[in-house]
């Protein structure tokens, strides 16, 4: 019961916290924020536990039913994303609390924006209709732009502006697609669309607009240009939030809509095209990451590459057998979760290394392994997952995708996974080569506060552990999905 009533809290709480913290004096906002983490985390866990115990359900907000009311659907995927958001955001928030201590201007706006971001993301995970997805997308996107602009350097402002323009364009394309779908079918709900959908021209144009808009927002190659400056240039905890969670928001919508419409409406070639773009992202992103000299830009390009893996979902799930499709679903979600945890850890530990040497240039990391082993260790653990090496979530995800690709006879995706893994090893070990080189014998580096190292390590360790116990989360995520029990 607690779990059921916690569902509306997932927006009400962050929205209320956001407004209250805007009204509160800046000095109180951080403390208020820390106090707010706990109930929100508890509500997320309650919702997840309720799903695991009692199965999927829908919730009509304020007892108003659709179409004018807002229906929320809690299934395994939605609840899983809620929990993932809660874990990653809480750890990033704790990190930010320490990281921003001596930057009161940034800190005072970080908290309200974080709450709005959180509300927007929870809105996306739980929305049952395609218009509320749009609203969630906008709330999340605007808050994310605000967070990028927190670092008031000209580069960060330019990055925020570029990000905003891309986001606006993307959401308008999405909105136009929604308008066309509503005109054709007179319904916005996912379930309604799934029943009614036919493969006519309007639907295909609408779907094309929706896909295009979401690709832009997910920064899939070649629409990725806005991502590296925004993610690499933001404050460290913001970078972590954006790369770990925000890009997943638009991908999540795409995945949902594909499961409802895509397999019926789109031609086979669309799925292959999405996969090919994903492959392009894996190669281009990996290559560019390897070429960077700025540590956070390297990590940001790694996000471009990792997003590519997620798009292998579409060719593997469309027109393939049920077993291959299930493996693709499991594998993609494993990749998504592992990337969220690992990339947050990677950004946070990169931030720690930058704090330690006082420079973001990779060449200045020489010899750091002797003095800051813990930051480097988190970086390495997260790197293991990103490279897809065992034992880690990234490896388990890759294993499932490989299985799916072989089972569906699409061997060409194997090459993508093969070369992508080697490329990511190249850019991760580029950092390690510097760190292991013998440098100055005396420790000139600054010691970051322990909290910063611990949060990064916790995220990295969970990216590893989730790979070893993957069958449990994957079983939960399948609840209420087309692939599973429940």
């Amino acid at each position: 019961m607690i779990g059921f009533w916690s569902v509306p809290l997932l927006f009400a709480l962050p929205l209320a916290l956001g407004i209250v913290s805007l009204l509160a004096p800046p000095a109180w906002r951080a403390r208020l924020g820390l106090a707010g983490l706990l109930p929100l985390l508890a509500a997320s866990i309650a919702v997840f536990a309720h799903l695991v115990l009692d199965g999927p359900h829908t919730y009509a907000l304020g007892n108003w039913n659709a179409p004018l009311g807002i229906n929320l659907a809690v299934d395994g995927l939605a609840a899983g994303m809620v929990l993932l958001t809660a874990v990653v955001s809480s750890l990033c928030a704790i990190y930010a609390w320490v990281y921003l201590r001596d930057q009161p201007a940034s800190s005072s706006f970080f908290w309200p924006l974080l709450w709005f971001l959180w509300a927007g993301m929870n809105g996306i995970w739980l929305a049952e209709d395609i218009f509320n997805l749009y609203v969630g997308l906008e709330v999340m996107g605007l808050a994310a732009v605000g967070l990028v602009a927190l670092k008031a350097t000209p580069q960060a402002l330019a990055a925020a502006m570029r990000y905003l323009l891309a986001a606006l364009l993307g959401s308008l394309a999405y909105l136009l697609g929604v308008a066309l779908l509503y005109a054709s079918y007179g319904t916005l709900s996912m379930a309604g669309l799934q029943e009614a959908a036919t493969a006519d021209v309007t639907t295909q144009v609408a779907l094309a607009l929706i896909i295009l808009g979401l690709l832009l927002k997910t920064a899939l190659f070649p629409l990725h240009a806005w991502l590296p400056p925004a993610h690499g240039g933001a404050l460290t905890p913001v970078s972590a939030l954006l790369s770990a969670l925000v890009v997943k928001g638009s991908f999540y919508i795409l995945l949902r809509i594909w499961m409802v419409l895509g397999t019926e409406v789109t031609p086979f070639a669309t799925a292959q095209l999405l996969g090919i773009l994903g492959a392009g992202a894996v190669f281009y992103g990996g290559w560019m990451a390897w070429r960077q000299h700025h540590l956070k830009q390297l990590v940001a390009y790694s996000t471009v590459a990792q997003i590519g893996y997620l798009f292998l979902f579409f060719p593997l799930v469309t027109g393939t057998g049920p077993e291959a499709a299930r493996l693709a679903w499991d594998g993609t979600l494993m990749m998504l979760i592992a990337h969220a945890l690992a990339k947050a850890a990677l950004f946070l530990s990169a931030g720690n290394l930058i704090l330690a040497v006082g420079s973001a240039h990779i060449g200045h990391l020489v010899g750091i392994s002797r003095f800051r082993p813990m930051s480097l260790f988190s970086f390495g653990l997260a790197g293991v997952s990103l490279m897809g090496l065992p034992p880690s979530g990234g490896f388990t995800g890759k294993w499932l995708l490989l299985n799916s690709a072989i089972l569906s006879g699409q061997w060409w995706w194997l090459i993508v996974l093969f070369l992508g893994g080697l490329l990511s090893a190249a850019y991760i070990f580029k950092v390690f080569r510097m760190a292991f080189r013998e440098g100055p014998q005396v420790d000139h580096s600054v010691t970051p506060p322990l909290t910063l190292d611990v949060t990064a390590l916790m995220l990295a360790a969970s990216a590893i552990l989730i790979g070893l116990t993957a069958h449990l989360p994957l079983a939960w995520l399948r609840i209420g999905s087309p692939f599973g029990a429940g």
């Binding site: 004018l68 350097t153 000209p154 925020a160 905003l164 308008l172 005109a183």
Partner: protein, 98 residues
Amino acid sequence: MSGALVFAWSGVVLFSLGLFGFIVHRHLLRRLLAFNIMGSGAFLVLVGLAQDGRGIDPVPHAMVITGIVVAVASTALALVVFRRWYRASGRTDLPEDT
């Protein structure tokens, strides 16, 4: 062509014009205006298509109102970021924006 479709088609035309402006112009204020024109186009499509032969439907109106709120918020945020960018760099366009 029914009256409703006229609205829808003008929406499409507005959207396309806006998109053209968004891509062609470098000045950020102009791009912002173009974005607003695109938004209005999308709203027209939403309202115009939905009226086509189904009587009065409140849902598109609710959607458009929500959409307008979102567009206002986006524009406000864009203006804030633009102003800070202008103060920091003295430019009205984005660098290496070719």
